[in-house]
Symmetry: C2
């Protein structure tokens, strides 16, 4: 890795550290520069603007998520694979709420992922769709529902009891409940 790219990576890492400490919106360029041992204007040698920094973080977060999803060995059984996929996704979110906030919520005014960063987000989405499809769920409405249910459990867990499992422990049961119903409905039609 060239020295410049290594530096960029180090800056992004420090930015994540600040985001974990003060929230994703609480990352300031002054604090970031201090964290990496530079002065604030020097950051502009690596990022054109603060939104460009967020964009690099967005891409980095999605890349890490893809990598983490790649590492997990999914069971052959589609249902078990779906549960494992969701569990991995949830673990990724709970591991770093600020990262989840940047990747999946829209709390930074003016920030929109650049096209090249967004393809990474679409890659994540594509993998989710694949594992959902393979369990036999193909209708858009059913996919929307199951994704929204999982997100609902995850957000409740994140905002009310991060680190616990009060909501997340129901994940597999809810997935079974919905998938059984969806398959039954498609069998009948």
């Amino acid at each position: 890795m060239p020295r410049r790219e290594a530096k960029v990576a180090a800056i992004v890492d420090s930015a994540w550290k600040l985001a974990r400490e003060h929230g994703i919106a609480g990352v300031s360029l002054h604090a970031l520069a201090r964290e990496v041992g530079m002065r604030q204007p020097s950051l502009y040698a690596y990022f054109d603007s603060k939104l460009a920094l967020y964009d690099a973080m967005f891409a980095d977060g999605n890349r890490r998520l893809i990598q983490q999803l790649d590492l997990v060995k999914l069971p052959r059984d589609p249902r078990a694979a779906l549960k494992k996929f969701f569990a991995e996704f949830v673990a990724f979110a709970l591991e770093d709420p600020a990262r989840y906030e940047l990747l999946f919520e829209r709390h930074i005014p003016g920030f929109t992922p650049s096209p090249t960063s967004y393809v990474l987000a679409e890659e994540v989405l594509a993998r989710a769709y694949k594992v959902i499809n393979e369990v036999g769920i193909t209708k858009q409405g059913d996919i929307d529902c199951i994704v929204a249910m999982v997100a609902g459990l995850m957000e409740a867990q994140l905002s009310n009891d991060p680190g616990g499992n009060r909501w997340i422990r129901h994940l597999n049961r809810l997935v079974d409940l919905y998938v059984d119903d969806a398959l039954e409905r498609s069998r009948q039609s």
Copy 2:
């Protein structure tokens, strides 16, 4: 209503207007003062701080929600009543996303509702619990699940398609699915 309280109410109303335009975090005292035809420091005759303004908005929002929930005539059938209650709640949220953000999410750094404002939020919660209990769901885990599911649908609707019904149209079906399952489980034990 005394003149002073009328003025406070007018300021809060204008604050909601700004929140709808620029997000709940985007409300500034300068803009708010301009909106009500005053200078920024004059606002301090009505609110001790910006957080005190947010607290007044929080109380106001909950009061409006309670009022809206009071107006709706719930069917005698508990299941139908539950659906109607959720529908009303969702309508309230979709009607003003910024208001939902202040009342039910924690996006304002440093803001915590005062005790007197928080009792209003608890009143809302108590009404939700009542209508859920009356359908036969009493275990905390089941309540958590159904609330998280509804919230998941609502947040997906809010952030991806406000004004539409792509997610919300599945609300009643999901409620039936979960309630049927919960009742079946409690029947068996």
